[in-house]
Amino acid sequence: MIARIFATAITEAHIARRNRWVLIAVGLMVVFSLVLSAVGSAPSGGLGADRLSVTVASLTSLSVYLVPLVALLMSFDAVAGEVERGTLPLLLTYPVARWEILAGKLVAHTGILLVALVAGYGAAALIAVAGDPAAAAGFAALWRLTWASTLLGATFLGIGYALSSLARRASGAAGLAIGLWLGLVVLYDLALLAAVVADDGGIFTTRFFPAALLANPADAFRLFNLTASQATAAASGIGAAGATIALWKSLVSVLVWPLIALGFATLTFRKVEP
């Protein structure tokens, strides 16, 4: 079982390396992290926080957008591409379970994402530590951001595999993936903000708004990191609005979402008839 999962993981890693996905993911993370840490260094004096903690708060806001995007871009082709190329029927005649195939892809894609995260966050952390000797205090927050980002990535990889199985055509899966990213990461927050403003402290704001934040993996991720590092002051918008939600709730959401997404992916892949 483990051997078969790693067989697929090695093959997927070869493909990602050849298709420049490793390079693109690392490049994106490093460039955006460096830009953010350069821009985000200005207000640190006024907040009384060490420079790395401020960088982590900025990286959290960046990762909410970038990690789901990179994960969806790597995963939308996973099943639909195999169906379109005609490679799936042969693969499914091998003594390998469908969930093992997905697990192999997940191992490879998560590994690539992790390399990109370490490169991007590492570069930003180096700059922060170099500019502020007290920045070492922020390492706990950076570590937390790294594993939470990996889980966020796994969630969106799972969603990507599920969309890929549902669409069965790579172009359709790509469209669904971009639409979902736009919906969950951008429009969801805008809609919530608009509703909160319109509600003006009513039942929606006190009852439904916290649940709505926890139900969205991207919002739960941001909430968890900002609450845990008590950096909500450095954030704005939705992050600040959710400051009243208990830490354990967002932690549960961050931990459970990858399981839901990957379970859903396995179910949809099982229904694909080659």
């Binding site: 190329r85 005649t93 008839e273």
Partner: protein, 298 residues
Amino acid sequence: MTSTLTISHLTKAFGGVKALSDVSLDVAAGERVALLGHNGAGKSTLMKVILGLIAADSGEISVCGSAPGDAAARARVAYLPENATFHSALTGLEQITYYLRLRGEDTSGAMTLLDKVGLGHAANRRIGTYSKGMRQRVGLAQTLIGRPDLLILDEPTSGLDPVSRRDFYQLLDGLAAEGAAILLSSHALTEVEARTDRLLILSGGKMVATGSLTDLRREAALPVAMHITAINGYDADVLSVLPDAIRVGSALHLTCTQEEKLGTLALVAGLKEKVADIDVIPPSLEDIYSHFSRRDGQ
């Protein structure tokens, strides 16, 4: 001899259209069986049902003693899809290594397999740069992994040049001699005729004929053609004895049933001093194939 593959009364429909109806067949260990039929006759569907890729509506199927698609069955069956395709970013060596790992085989055998199908020189090139014939040979190489008991080959020689075809059938002969059962589909009737033990003809989802070529030739009872060349000036004499013959160029063409064949030959033998040459042409495999696949209202 025990059958490696047994199918009885298999039926499969897609949205009300019957792709396979009441198909029964068996393939014994060491037997090479060819599956013939028009495009859309149900060959690929039959193969996918045997592989467990699609479920049958009704009927019994036993693959190496297991249900189709079971882990036990998949471990013992090799498949070559029609137009084998692979990820273009992988090299031939990486692709074969992947398949070896999935079957739990030693990956050091990858180069040997590629050499066996004549791809050793291209092992480290991406499959995206391969020709169709080379991709087909990657497909063949993966069917040789781990001594399968049953090989399901969907048009295995399409895209191969004549020399590669001959090498391919030699590989098959070796596998069959070691006890593998082989079911292959093909449109190249003449090579199937020489290289398989038995033919199955599917038409419109029904099994319309099964048996060796000799069996099918007898069953079809197609007429035998004779081309007689008379010695100069004796055409009329020959025609008077064989009034059904037609003059085509310098030869006389005649057809007769299998039963009349010897009698007709005796008549020609009686004209020995007037006949320069005679060719007896039995019905070709194409004729027999068309006979069976058209009989079903096509």
